[in-house]
């Protein structure tokens, strides 16, 4: 789409000297760079074995070169600035200009040679998550290989044995480097292009960050209390929609590199898990679902037939994962009468405004100034008003009449007459309810604390 630039990142001299490879190549291939966070169109293979390329949600596929039957990629581990959504930029570590890094695509049986140049301030390595390969290529620094020192380039060489969906990520100072956004997807296409073909094939990773409001760099020591839940290091409303032609068979491959599981839920369709990072699931073992749970470190590919036109969300069903930065210690204000107090507070804090009295929707309705580089916790406007979502949320836009390879956003769905929920304007309906309960707890039983005995001497 836009901004694709191939940089000559490495000129023969310096890195050539760094690479002392048994393969004795002439030079390291150019490392392509991506500066846009937008979804790039599929990269049709120009050489090697043919396949149906994937679309990386808010990402791109890394170009390669063929060299004596080897498919050569060049990944550069480096600090990057990633836009999580318009209005928020973060200082992450990634590959080739973006976090997550580019998707590596190849075909079952391909001989791949991956150059990894380390431009981080510390040593790194890459582990090829889920791929079966020789032990010394597994990328576990210290165990199966030396660390890749700062400024050096290492080479990984192996054969892609099995088709499916995989991931890559560092196995050196792993917690920090993953917390900083170092990861990418690997798609290995079947040798036979007719094996389980789909019309649209999307791929992305789940990752989570803790970035203090007003800050730019994730807190790498965070274990659980993350505040930004992402699809490919993007949060709604920064996540692109997935346009789908009506009737298309759609595959979505999702890898989870967060520290918790994510029940991904789709609206309007049933789906089946057809592949994991362990391999393809036999038809007899699949069951239909609308929510699939993706555990930590797992990859799940689900498929469905897009036979129901409209705008259908795909989102994590942990409701706080569809929120952006929010206070986790704010008390509930629902139902609290503020009359007379707001004025008192305003005397001290002139910009004070009552919020949360009715719930948190106030947040998406009022546009109030926030700390710099901070996204509202729920936002994004739909055709009918605020969507009140953030984080892990996007939409399948299923439309009739899209071209086969058309990934342009088709805009909001135009509902046929009479298919949208509407306000009842007839006579009020009688509703019978049980009498409301008193707020104070009924005085059923009184408990009495019994002091530990045997301390009478005190």
């Amino acid at each position: 789409m836009t901004n694709r630039r191939n940089f000559l990142r490495t000129t023969g001299g310096m890195l050539g000297a760094a690479v002392v490879s048994k393969a004795a190549m002439g030079a390291v291939p150019e490392a392509a760079l991506q500066t846009s966070p937008q979804t790039q169109p599929p990269l049709e293979p120009s050489n090697g074995r043919p396949y149906q390329p994937v679309v990386t949600l808010n990402g791109w596929t890394l170009p390669w070169r063929m060299n004596n039957g080897w498919k050569e990629f060049h990944l550069v581990a480096e600090p990057v600035v990633r836009e999580l959504a318009p209005g928020m930029k973060t200082h992450l570590w990634g590959y080739n200009g973006q976090s997550p890094g580019p998707t590596l695509e190849c075909v079952e049986g391909d001989k791949v040679r991956i150059f990894v140049t380390n431009k981080l301030p510390e040593a790194t390595s890459i582990h090829w998550h889920g791929i079966i390969l020789p032990n010394g290529m597994d990328g576990v620094s210290g165990l199966t290989q030396p660390h890749i020192p700062v400024g050096k380039t290492f080479v990984y060489e192996f054969v892609m044995g099995k088709s499916g969906s995989f991931m890559y990520h560092p196995h050196a100072d792993e917690m920090v480097q993953m917390a900083m956004g170092m990861m990418g997807s690997i798609v290995v296409h079947p040798k036979n292009p007719k094996f389980m073909p789909v019309d649209r094939d999307f791929v992305f990773l789940l990752s989570a960050f803790m970035i203090e409001p007003g800050a730019y760099t994730p807190k790498v020591a965070e274990m659980l209390d993350f505040n930004l839940w992402t699809f490919n290091s993007r949060v709604f409303p920064g996540i692109d929609a997935m346009p789908v032609r009506l009737g298309d068979r759609v595959r979505v491959r999702i890898g989870n590199l967060t520290m918790t599981n994510h029940p991904l839920h789709i609206h309007g369709h049933h789906m089946e898990v057809t592949c994991t990072d362990g391999g393809w699931v036999p038809k007899s073992a699949r069951w239909p679902e609308t929510t699939i749970d993706i555990g930590v470190g797992q990859v799940r590919s689900f498929e469905f037939v897009a036979d129901n036109p409209g705008d259908w969300p795909l989102h994590c069903h942990k409701s706080h994962h569809t929120m952006n930065a929010m206070g986790h210690n704010v008390p509930t204000m629902i139902g609290v009468d503020h009359r007379g107090i707001a004025e008192k507070i305003m005397k001290l804090v002139p910009d004070y405004m009552v919020m949360g009295e009715r719930g948190m929707s106030d947040m998406s309705e009022m546009e109030m100034p926030l700390p710099e580089n901070t996204l509202p916790m729920m936002t994004g406007k739909g055709p009918f008003g605020p969507i009140e979502m953030g984080g892990m949320f996007t939409v399948f836009k299923i439309r009739d009449g899209l071209a086969r390879n058309d990934y342009k956003d088709p805009g909001w769905y135009k509902h046929p007459q009479g298919t949208v929920s509407y306000e009842w304007t007839g006579a009020p309906l009688a509703t019978e309810r049980a009498p409301a309960q008193a707020v104070s707890a009924p005085k059923a039983r009184e408990f009495r604390a019994v002091k530990p005995s045997g301390h009478s001497g005190h």
């Binding site: 206070g327 509930t332 629902i334 609290v336 507070i345 005397k347 919020m355 100034p369 926030l370």
Partner: protein, 456 residues
Amino acid sequence: MVLLTACASFSPDNGFDSVKNAVNQRTSAEPRWARTDAERGEVRQAVTSLLGQPLTADAAVQIALMNNRGLQATYSDLGIAEADLVQAGRLPNPRFAFERLVRGDELEIGRAFIVNVLSLLTMPARTQIEQRRFAVAKTRVAGEAARVAADTRRAWYSAVAAQEGVKYMQQVKDAAEASAELAQRMARAGNFSKLDQAREQVFYAETTAQLARVSQAAVAERENLTRLMGLWGEHIRFTLPERLPDLPKAPQQLEQAESDALRQRLDVQAAMQEAESVASSLGLTRVTGFISLLEVGYQHNSETGKPPQKGFEVELRLPIFDTGNARVVRAQHTYMQAVERAAELAVRARSEVREATNGYRTTYDLARHYRDEIVPLRKRISDENVLRYNGMLISVFELLADARQQVASVNAYIEALRDFWIADANLRSALTATSPGATTVSRRTSAPSEATAAGH
């Protein structure tokens, strides 16, 4: 003999003019000595008119210099000293003795006119001593007036700052009250536990107690000022300005502070005059030490039937038992004492000036640091917290706790500013008038603890 005539009468101002000038130079206010009912009436009127508008520091000093009754009592020292001087310039009255003796029909009449010659001879010297004593008295009275002026100035700064402190404490209380009330309503709606509610409630309760304390302190400071100005009755309802004067743009440059102080300080001057006066009385004692009394008399005796008998009589007590050296030794020690006292005062004055100069610079820098660094930073933190509240990242309770911190930082600035102005008064005093007393930086001004806020 010139002095004799010159000083034998009272001056119209009792020496108050020179006191007035000395005090005026040092305090830019004019002391007044109200000696008559009419003058007292004028003072009362002047006080009333000065109290008509919010009281400035200068006006407070002006009022103290004319209305502080202790100071009025001190002014009377001038009259007493001048009376001594006038007394010294007058001769002791000559004595006239008359005797009439009868023996049978014999009548004997004796007349003697006796004059104390020594006092006549020492009169110029004694007049000079009293002159010096009078000068000492004038310097001391001026010093006392300057001290009261400095005390009043300090009391004014403390009173204004304390009054401002009450205002800010009131704001803290308002914030705590809002928190407590909100917490109560949240508990009522079922959103807050009893523990959380009690925490907010206890903070409010403690703040109320603190406000009472601060208010009492403000009353005490104001009463101190009232006492120094000698006010009572309807005059105590004076108003103070809302705020302390701003920090000067730049601090004073003080290059020759020590020598300036030795030249200008009234207590140093008084000590030196005292030593001089003691020195001249030592000289006199030396001269007159062994002569206790020299009296010259003229006698005229007439007896019945005999020609009158006339002649002189000189009486001199012989220094056999008392040679006068004890008096001379005493006078010598008194003199040495005066000299040492003056030297001690000079050393102290230099040290006090150094301390006051340092106190002045430190408090100036501190006040500026509060004004330019801490208060703006607190403001920025508050602004940022409002943004976080907007994003529902923090709660209203944290917002209120932060507002209290901001209020506390403004209050700490006011205390720092007060400390500066008090240090300024101390410096002025140390340089020109008298010992300023301790000039330590107030330790009450401490950064508000974050711990209190964190709990909310």
